[in-house]
Amino acid sequence: MQAFDPTALRGDLASARFEPGPTDDKLILSMGPQHPSTHGVLRIMLELDGEYILRAEPVLGYIHRMHEWMAEQKTYMQFMPNMGRVDYLHAMAWNWAYAGAVERLMGVEVPKRAEYIRVAVTELNRISSHLLWWGAYLLDLGAFTPIMYAFDDREIILDILQAVTGSRLTYSYFTIGGVYGDVPADFASRCLAFTRHLRSRLPMYRDLVTDNVILRGRCEDIGVMDVELARRYGATGPCIRGSGAPVDTRRAEPYGVYNRFDFRIPAYTEGDAMARYMVRMDELVTSCDIIDQAVQGLPEGPIQAKVGKTVKPPKGEACYAVEGARGKIIIHVRSDGGPKPYRVKLRAPGFSNLSVFCDLARGTLLADAVSILGSLDLVIPEIDR
């Protein structure tokens, strides 16, 4: 047996850059990329004093798949399936952002029925994303049961969306100028039944989980992000709405037919993990309201604008912003007139939200860092792209 030589373990690039210097009682800890609560392959370098975090630094790139480069190698429609893989939890919003950007580039008018269907499926997808976040966050906090209840509700959404799109997770349902297929006849009734069901479940979740004293102790005053900090890092979505700024792309720059719906933008002023939690729980109701209005007002008509066999936008560039479950998604497409995009830039909200983590985690306990990380609702494939 070879004797143990501590100098042989030099670590990799990330840990070499994270040297503590000549301190004697600091612990350098590499949390991830295989850690139960970094949700996939996020890695965080931590400098600890006891259990207190002195410095935290995310290390990215473990699931970088070159989506933006792939876009340049494929035709406009061929790139659509990639969108479901960027953020697999809210694939519909990414579908919409990409389709919207190309449509804006080409000046295509999307039929009203397609717009309503887009709203309904995107909001259903948002609910399923929030439910999964809810379960996973409580898993981070050590409560094992809620995720099963969340999945029970989420299952209904997946069934509805499977009937519509054919897939259950990585949807590729949008086309340039519409949606891929019409919804089944019972779509509206199933959606309404689901929103009724979810609304009846939410009081139970509030009583059993949200009002739990241990959960409150783990969330309140943890990771307080004031609105200035959020703005500085470009944090969007529930993260900034929890900091007191009711910023929502659906209201601020309405896309599709969102300006036709009546819905409330939930916002809390505390800025802590609990505020972000409450924003997401309230958004479940908001999404239910939008779904109800969308499926009840679903107009008849075509679901696809005339675009032609090959999508060939004119020379130019276009930008399209969408409110995803995690924040503002922006896709910027530049065309040189050919059948493939010249450049596609994806702006993932999770990247900006994660950047705040370094500031929030400083001075907290290790357990709080896990709580903060969960409250930011990170999807690592979206951050790395």
Partner: protein, 329 residues
């Protein structure tokens, strides 16, 4: 001394050997049953059936799992302190056997009846934390070290109110003998110390959950924070022994709770040992139920709960018990 004398149960050494054999059998079998109960309760808490396919209602699932654990290679991480690393799981299991000896299973059923059984259990259950330190230290793992550090602070913090609550009952009963304490209570709930002194019972239960490292106080092995805490590097039977020791510790605290607060073996109709088992399993079910219901507390909250609430309350309870005992006696 003839052979007959040696084989009789009155001879201390024979009694000890037979007692230890019974304890090993009981702990092993009960570990299997408890794993099954835990997974079934967890399943039904979570809208799913739990283990279902191996044996009737998954009853044989723990057996299969145990065979799998035993069959695994024993792996020690590079750079670990091998001696300490393998000593730790054995040491986790050792106090369990001692603590089981004085438990009063029935009016005349104990491995070794002794008049200071309570002291023995409290003394040896304090040893359990040593194994966690060794495991965390010996495995050359930062998560393990953090888990070990947590376990020490937690154990120190919760042994104080635990001892105080037990002392309150001991003073009321005027004895440290688990048999006498059980015998002084009756078969009906209003005769139990748990009903007469609910505060001590409550404090004991909370501390018992914390001492056995069960959720919501499972900080030394908090898997969403410390991956698996002190047993991060253990696999196979090394992990299995920690696992078994945790369940055995649960049985011990439940047994002590049943003897101190729930009237021990006493109850109507059934013979004593069955009542004792029923009471133990009710408390075990409660502990399991807690685990699958609550989120985990944070470390400083855990210590605050002990030092700011449980310890003063336990002191108050002890003072009351002394006053009541003084006036009553």
């Amino acid at each position: 001394m003839n052979l007959e004398q040696l084989l009789s149960l009155d001879y201390p050494l024979t009694r000890l050997v037979i007692g230890l054999l019974c304890i090993f059998a009981f702990v092993g079998l009960n570990g299997l049953v408890l794993v099954w109960v835990e997974r079934k309760v967890a399943g039904h808490c979570q809208l799913r059936p739990g283990p279902l396919h191996v044996g009737p209602h998954g009853l044989l699932q723990p057996l299969v799992d145990a065979v799998k654990l035993i069959g695994k290679q024993l792996v020690a991480p590079f750079g670990s302190d091998k001696a300490l690393f393998w000593l730790a799981p054995l040491l986790a299991f050792a106090p369990v056997t001692v603590c089981m000896l004085p438990l009063p299973w029935g009016p005349d059923m104990a491995m070794i009846p002794m008049n200071t059984g309570l002291v023995l259990i409290l003394a040896f259950s304090g040893l359990g934390v040593l194994s966690l330190i060794l495991a965390g230290w010996g495995s050359n793992n930062k998560w393990g070290l953090l888990g070990a550090a947590r376990s020490v602070a937690q154990s120190v913090a919760y042994e104080v109110p635990l001892l105080l609550s037990v002392m309150a009952v001991a003073i009321t009963a005027g004895s440290l003998d688990l048999f006498q304490i059980s015998a002084q209570q009756g078969g009906w709930p209003w005769q139990w110390y748990g009903v007469k002194n609910p505060l001590a019972f409550f404090i004991f239960l909370v501390c018992a959950v914390a001492e056995t490292n069960r959720a919501p106080f499972d900080l030394p092995e908090a898997e969403s924070e410390l991956t698996a805490g002190f047993h991060t590097e253990y696999s196979g039977m090394g992990f299995g022994l920690f696992f078994l020791a945790e369940y055995a510790n649960m049985i011990i605290v439940s047994g002590v709770a049943a003897a101190l607060f729930l009237g021990g073996w006493q109850g109507p109709f059934l013979p004593g040992v069955w009542w004792f088992l029923v009471k133990i399993y009710c408390i075990l079910f409660f502990i399991i139920w807690l685990r699958w219901t609550y989120p985990r507390v944070r470390f400083d909250q855990l210590l605050n709960l002990s030092w700011k609430w449980l310890t003063p309350l336990a002191l108050l309870d002890l003072a009351l018990a002394v006053i009541v005992a003084g006036f009553g006696g």
